[in-house]
Each structure stands twice: as C-alpha cells, then as structure tokens.
C-alpha cells in the first residue's frame, strides 16, 4: 500500500503532497523534511530504495524535481519505481513537456491525474488514454 506521494524540488519546497494514511498536519512538515534529508543527497548511481522508520521510500529524480513515494513492506519496490515513471509520462503527455512551473500552476489538475491513478493507496489505472480522458472532457467543458 502506498502511504504517501511527494514531489519536492531541490530547495526543499513541496510541490505536491498526497497522503493515503492519515498524518497530523504538523507532523507532515517534519516528515517531509526528514524524507528530504535522506533522499536529496543521493547521486544517480546510488540505490533508489531507502529504508526509513518502518516503511520504505522509493525516490526518483527528474531534473529539479524529486518524487518520493512511501510504501509499506509488502509492496514491490521496483513496480513502484516503474509507476513513478508512468505518472511522469502521463503528466508529460497532458502538459506537453512538463516542467516544475506547470505542476505549480495547475496543481488541481495534477491532483486529478493522481487521483485517477491511485485510489486509497492502491494503483488503479495505468493506461495513459484512460487516465486523461475525463480531464480532457473537463477542459472542453470549461472552455465552452
């Protein structure tokens, strides 16, 4: 089960935070800083799976953004690693060459995409076309 999904930039500012298991609001910032500390100082040659307290972290870096997913023990880390890439590819298709600014200014759309892909900590949809279908309909409706 996925516990949380974080997107953080190199300066430590959170760009997206989704928790699938309840964490108190003041504990969230603490958690995010600690997670950052373990993940930020990894080079590309190092392993992407880190053990953190009682769960595992899977991190993947894309230019200036670091995506960190916290999973519990039973989850297959390599599948989650692949899932992160899948997510980024979906974003890429929707925003056409996504950048950090795109994510910042369209946070609600990114949330919608993430909600389409992960429900309650489980992966539900990985097909790009199907994920983006409702979003494209929404866009058409708001334009007209």
């Amino acid at each position: 089960m996925i516990k949380f999904f974080l997107m953080v930039n190199k300066q430590g500012q959170t760009r997206l935070a989704k928790y699938y298991e309840h964490v108190e609001i003041n504990k969230r910032t603490v958690l995010e800083t600690e997670v950052l500390k373990s993940c930020l100082f990894r080079s590309n040659e190092q392993c992407s799976f880190i053990e953190f307290k009682d769960f595992k972290l899977v991190c993947r870096r894309y230019a200036a953004l670091l995506i960190v997913v916290g999973v519990n023990d039973t989850e297959n880390e390599m599948a989650i690693y692949e899932f992160i890439h899948n997510f980024v590819e979906v974003l890429d298709e929707y925003f056409s060459r996504v950048t950090e600014l795109d994510i910042m200014f369209n946070l609600d759309k990114v949330h919608i995409i993430l909600d389409e892909m992960v429900l309650n900590g489980c992966i539900v949809e990985t097909n790009r076309a199907r994920i983006l279908a409702p979003l494209l309909i929404l866009d058409k409706m708001s334009e007209s």
Binding site: F49, Y81, L107, D108, N120, V124
Partner: protein, 767 residues
C-alpha cells in the same frame, strides 16, 4: 470595499515573488484574511477559487482549518467545478477526527446515486480516502450497486472503495465477496487490477475467504498466461512488458493463495516457470515482474527445480549493474538464507563484493547477508573481508559490523588463538587499551611467568609492566575510563607481583631503585604502586580521585585485607550451547529411564518404610524418590552413567532360597568418594522361572538412594539370563552403611515376599 479576488495563478506568482520567508508569510496572511472575509460574505461565484488558493497555502504548511465548512458548501453545489474543488478540499483538509466529515455523508450519497460518472467518480474517490467506519456502513450498499453497473470508469473506482471499506469495517466483507467472481471475468484492466486488490484484501483478513478463493486459481493463471503470451498491446505495455502492474498484482495474489497449499501450488508451477523464462529483463518493468515471481516461488510449495531457477535468477540479479536490482536481490536472499542455506552459499563471493559498494542501503544489506552466511568452513575468509569492511564503512554500520564479527568469531572460531587475534583486531585503540589493562591487572602473575602454548615464551619484566601502566595513566590520549582501568590494574598487581608484599621498607629507598639489581626490587613494588596511586588522590577527575583515595586507604588502614579484596575473579560458567544441549539430552534420557521405575516404586517403598523399624528413619530424603527428574538427577549429572568399573570390593551373596540367588557387587568410582554403586544380580538355578520379580531397598536417613530400572522382571530357570538392577547410594557423611532389601516374586506357583537386612557389609563401602 470589494477587493477583486486574485486568481490562483496570480497568488502563486506573488508567493514566488517573495524574497524572504517573512515576506512570503506576509503575502499569505494577507491573502488568508481576504479568503476568510470572502467565506463570511458567502460569495458563491468565487468560492471555489478561494478554496483553491487555500489549498495551495495549506500545502505549503500554513493552517487552513477555517476552510472546512466551505468544502461542504462546495460539495453540495450543483456545478462540477465547485464539486471538484470541494471534494479535493475534503480529501486534504478533513479527516476522521473532525466532526465535519460526517456531514458530507449525505452529499456523497446523493452524488453516488446521481448517475453522472464524473461526479460518482469524485464521490468514490473522496469516500475511499476519508471514509470513516460509520460512513462506510451507511454507504456500503450504494457502492455495491455501483460495482455491477456497466460503466467501467465508475466500477474500477467502486472496487477500490470497497477495499477501503473492508479495511475500516471488516464485517462488510460479506457484502463484497460474491461480486468478486463475476468481476474477474472482466477484460478491462482497471477493473481487474481493482478486483485482484480486493480479493487480496479479503484473503488477508479471513481464512474462510482464502479457502473460497482458492477455487479461482485456475482462472488467475489463465489471465496471467494471456498477459504474458499475447504480443505487443498498445494499451498497456510499458517498455515491452504488457501491463506489469497487473502481472505483479496477480503474482502477489497467487503467492497468498498458494502458501501452504499443495494443490494450488502445483497448478501455478508451469505458469511461474513460463513467466520466469519469458520475461524480458532488459528494462526495469521486466525485472519488477521477475522479482515478484521469485518471491512467489519462494513462498509457495514449489517444485525443487523451480526453486533452483529462482535462486539462479537472484544470482543473475546480483551481477547486474543496476543498484536497485542488486538491492532487491540481496533482500530476497536474506529472506531465503534460513530455508535454502546451501543454495545461497553459492553466491557468497558476489555478496562479499557488494560489501565494497559505496551505497549505504546496499552495504547494509550485504553486511546482514554476509553475517548470515558465515559458517565454520568459511569463517576465516569471511572475517577477513568483514574486517576490511569495518575499516572503511559508514559510522552507523560500524557497531553492527563489529558485533556481528565478534558473534561469528565466538561461534565458529577454529582455535582459541585465532579467536583472540580476531577480537584484538576488531577493537580500536581506547577499548583495546582498556581490555589490555584489565587483563594485565587480573592475570599479571601469569604474564610474568611467561610461557605461551603456541609461540615462544616472552619474558616480561615487572618493571616494564609497571612503567607501561604508568604511561597509560599519564598519557594525554587516555580517556578517563581508560585511566580508571589502569589504576585498578596497578592495584591488582600490587598483590600479584612476586616478592615480599608488605610495606615495611621506608620510602627513601625508592630513589635508589634505578641502580639496584632487579631481585631487590621485588620488595619495593607495593610502595611504588602506592606512591603512583596517591598522586591521583588530588586529581581533578572525581572518578579517578575517588579511586585513588580509596586505594590509598586500602594500603594504609586495611593492608591485611588487601590481598583478599584484590583477589582474582572467579571463572565464568561457560555454559555454551553445546554443553547445555548435552546436559539437556542426558537429562531427557535419564528422566525417561528413572521415571518409570520410581513412580510405581515410590508408593511401594512407602509401604516398605512402614514395615521397617525406626532406626532407618521414617522419611527417606524425598528427592531420592520423587518422580520429577530434576532433583535426583543433579547427582547423576556429575558422573557418567556407564556401567561401573571393575569392583575392588568383593561381591556378596545376600540371599538364597529354592534356587534363586541374589548377589551384590559394589563399585566406588574414584572421582566421587561419596558415591557407591551396587549392582543387584538375581540368578535362578531352579527348574521353574521366577516371575514378577521386584527388588526394593531402604537405607538410613542420611543416605540418598536411587534405584534404577531393573533389566527385567523374570529370572529364567536353569541359570538363564540374570536380572540386574543398579542402586546408587550417596553417602556424604561417610556414615556406616546399612541396607535392607525386600523381594517379591512368584516362584513354583506361589507368591513369595522376603525382607532382610544385608549384614557383613565391608568397611570399604563407606570409608
């Protein structure tokens, strides 16, 4: 004054424009004030915009609880954009502990029954994230209806909402169990993925569900097979592997279903072999599927060939350049090392190489695995590798590595000398000095005698030893603890060194010590040590000062007690697993042997005691007769239970009647003067067998008697195989032995009972 509200984009621009933290806070606080005002005014048109801004601010870490009621209002609004932001806000801001969340139950209910897919999707999403137990119970039937609707968009979400509901309220599993079978027939991958997760959750929660779902194993196998064998499918393939996420989920479910179940495991065998060989491993997706396959093979009752295949796959992973794959391989090997030890041993060289990785996660895993792989044949090589690792590794791993090396050395050390050498190499400077100082103090006399079994003896002078300890005391690098050790060691040496250990000589002779020959130093050691110790009586470190003052007092007032106080430590009982196991197995054997006769004999012997007169004492020491093996066997464990050595005391014939003879032979084992072993031999030279032969004995109160089981209860006729019985008598007080015997048996069709005292016992038996 109406301030036109900022759009979300503009707010973000402003926040980004802030140069310092304080400026950012200012901007945000101003905006929050606007938002609060707007909420109070109740402007419906821009409400969603305000909430969106609030959510952004919340993500940055600022408090946003005042937006909760607005979420509710937005959810209830008919416009989709409002609903969208409202539900998002609900997911981010509300949780079970707030009371407000119950209020959205009604809205969700309405939205679920509305029939517009997008809206239903939103509602389901929110329900699965923040749904509390009461909400789940209320809305379970709605969700179940949605499970069977034709639209796949809603169904896949409904399935996962069901998963959440089961997690919160396990009783709802009954509602969601029946639809699963039908859902498995779907072709839509989203629904399949959700269904597999649902089945996994159900199986994990109840064993009954597990049994129910074992029936669908063939179906799952079929689905997985289609996935693996069909070619490139545009919809779901990721780097050439068709829907790896679904494959991984199915494999995980198969693992749960096949665990400890022969039948299901058999069905899966072929498929697992196929997946393992056909998956393309050049990309990460393929490796993910392969990893899950290996885990499944390990957990179910798979064929031996399949397990070998799995271990080989892991071996290949270990050689891969990608760090992630190596990490995953090391983790799985660690799980397997208990069950398939020899298979994992084959990969030991590669594991040891992984120790040299600079990456922290990898080296930690490699360390754990290496420690698990140490056994008596490879201990020398492994310890060398681990020691070089210890020098170069990260500080947080050092403690684990050191303790691991020491444990392994203790279990598998080929020689004592190697063990000690290893320990020495692991200890770094200060601990090494402390241990050395303690050893010198305790065993100083052995040190000065010289002589060591494996190398040439080194002759060490007392002078050198004392000078060394003084150097340690004075060195700047010594920690206070080290100094404490050195001081105590000096004190212990004052009693251990050769020569006259009293202080009768005056101190000024110490000045001449440099010029005097060594043998007259012997009498000066205590004075010298006392002088060194008294220097530290004014040391700034409180611990050292206290020690020095106390030791000085020991010299001054309690000199007569000094030797007793500074005596050597008693040897620690080296239990050790092997000794304990041997003891326990002996206890078990003996308890079985002694239990059987002592039980029936206990009651009979009490009768015997009634018959005996008072001189023998009415109560035997209970431990000799209790059925519990604990007390009695304490004595037995001191000695081997083999047949006694040849007697040095002559045999004695104590009884004879109608052809049945009873002989006693005596042994006193040399190691234990208090023990006497008597063997009673019954021989029958008559024409008829003696049956139901029972022999009992009684001894005076101060003795301990133990009767072992007789070799049989029938003495065959015509001098056949005699019946023997062993009596063990403990005589700690060396009192004169008196022995009374009682025999009962059947002979010539009659039952006979005889009681008599054994006279003429030779004196050697108890002296």
């Amino acid at each position: 004054m109406v301030v036109s509200s900022l759009k979300l984009q503009d707010l973000i621009e402003e926040i980004r424009g802030a140069k310092t933290q304080a400026q950012e806070r200012e901007v945000i606080q101003k905006e929050c004030a606007h938002i609060r005002a707007s909420f109070r005014d109740g402007d419906p048109l821009h409400r969603h915009r305000q909430l969106a801004k609030l959510l952004y601010v919340h993500m940055l870490g600022y408090p946003a609880h005042f937006g909760q009621m607005e979420c509710l209002k937005l959810i209830a609004s008919p416009r989709f954009t409002d609903k969208r932001v409202g539900y998002l806000g609900a997911m981010l801001l509300l949780d079970e502990r707030q009371d407000a969340h119950l209020l959205i139950t009604n809205s969700i209910k309405n939205d679920l029954s509305q029939g517009i897919q997008a809206v239903q999707g939103l509602a389901l999403c929110t329900l699965s994230t923040v749904g509390s137990a009461e909400m789940c119970r209320d809305l379970a039937t709605e969700v179940e209806k949605l499970l069977l609707q034709p639209g796949s968009y809603v169904r896949k979400k409904a399935v996962l909402t069901a998963v959440h509901m089961i997690r919160k309220v396990p009783e709802l599993s009954n509602i969601f169990l029946p639809p699963c079978a039908q859902l498995l027939h779907e072709r839509h991958h989203g629904i399949l993925l959700g269904t597999i997760t649902l089945i996994t959750e159900l199986c994990e929660r109840s064993p009954a569900a597990l049994k129910h779902f074992r029936k669908v194993v063939p179906q799952l196998v079929q689905i997985l097979q289609t996935l693996v064998t069909t070619g490139y499918s545009v919809e779901h393939s990721i780097s050439g592997v068709s829907d790896p996420f679904l494959q991984v989920q199915i494999l995980r479910l198969l693992r749960i279903l096949g665990r400890n179940h022969e039948e299901s495991s058999e069905i899966m065998n072929d498929l697992l072999a196929q997946v393992a060989t056909n998956t393309d491993t050049s990309r990460n997706a393929g490796n993910a599927v392969l990893f899950e396959t290996v885990l499944t093979i390990m957990d179910i009752r798979s064929a031996a060939g399949l397990r070998v295949l799995a271990v080989n796959i892991l071996g290949r992973f270990l050689l891969n350049n990608d760090k992630n794959i190596r990490y995953v391989a090391l983790t799985s090997l660690l799980r397997m090392v208990q069950s398939d030890h020899s298979a994992v041993q084959r990969h030991r060289p590669t594991v040891v190489e992984c120790l040299r990785e600079p990456d922290a996660s990898l080296s930690r895993r490699a360390l754990e695995l290496s420690l698990a792989l140490v056994n008596s044949s490879n201990v020398r090589a492994m310890t060398q590798e681990l020691q070089s690792f210890l020098e170069s590794c990260l500080p947080d791993l050092r403690a684990d590595c050191a303790s691991g090396i020491l444990l392994a050395a203790e279990r598998f050390a080929p020689t004592k000398r190697w063990h000690i050498d290893t320990i020495l190499r692991v200890l770094t400077t200060q601990p090494l000095v402390q241990v050395a100082a303690w050893c010198i103090g305790e065993y100083g006399d052995l040190l000065l005698e010289g002589g060591c079994e494996e190398t040439e003896p080194l002759q060490v002078e007392e002078e050198k030893v004392l000078a060394l300890l003084e150097k340690v005391l004075q060195s700047h690098m010594s920690l206070p603890a080290t100094r404490g050790y050195a001081l105590t060691a000096l004190m212990k040496l004052s009693t251990r060194l050769r020569g006259d250990n009293n202080l009768s000589l005056p101190c000024h002779i110490l000045e001449l010590k440099g010029r005097l020959p060594s043998h007259s130093h012997a009498t000066l050691w205590p004075s010298r040590i006392r002088q060194v110790v008294s220097i530290y009586g004014s040391c700034l470190d409180v611990e050292l000062q206290q020690r020095a003052v106390e030791y000085n007092t020991l010299f001054r007032k309690y000199d007569h007690m000094r030797a007793a106080i500074l005596e050597k430590m008693p040897l620690v009982e080296r239990g050790g697993t092997q000794d304990e196991e041997a003891k326990e197995s002996k206890e078990a054997q003996l308890s079985e042997a002694a239990l059987v006769p002592t039980e029936p004999q206990a009651s009979k012997l009490l009768d015997l005691l009634d018959l005996l007169d008072g001189t023998f004492g009415a109560t035997q020491p209970p431990p000799a007769l209790e059925p519990s093996p604990g007390g009695t066997l304490v004595h037995l464990l001191d000695l081997p239970c083999a047949s006694p050595a040849p007697a040095s005391i002559p045999n004695l014939r104590v009884f004879e009647r109608e052809g049945l003879q009873l002989n006693l032979s005596f042994v006193r084992p040399p190691g234990t003067p208090a023990l006497l072993l008597i063997t009673v031999t019954a021989v029958n030279t008559s024409g008829a067998d003696v049956t139901h032969f029972v022999c009992q004995a009684a001894v005076p109160k101060s003795f301990h008697l133990q009767l072992q089981a007789p070799s049989g209860d029938t003495v065959p006729a015509q001098g056949g195989l005699p019946v023997t019985q062993l009596l063990r008598i403990l005589n700690p007080n060396k009192a004169p032995l008196r022995l009374k015997l009682r025999l009962t048996y059947n002979h010539f069709g009659q039952s006979v009972q005889e009681i008599f005292e054994v006279n003429n016992l030779p004196v050697e038996m108890w002296q």
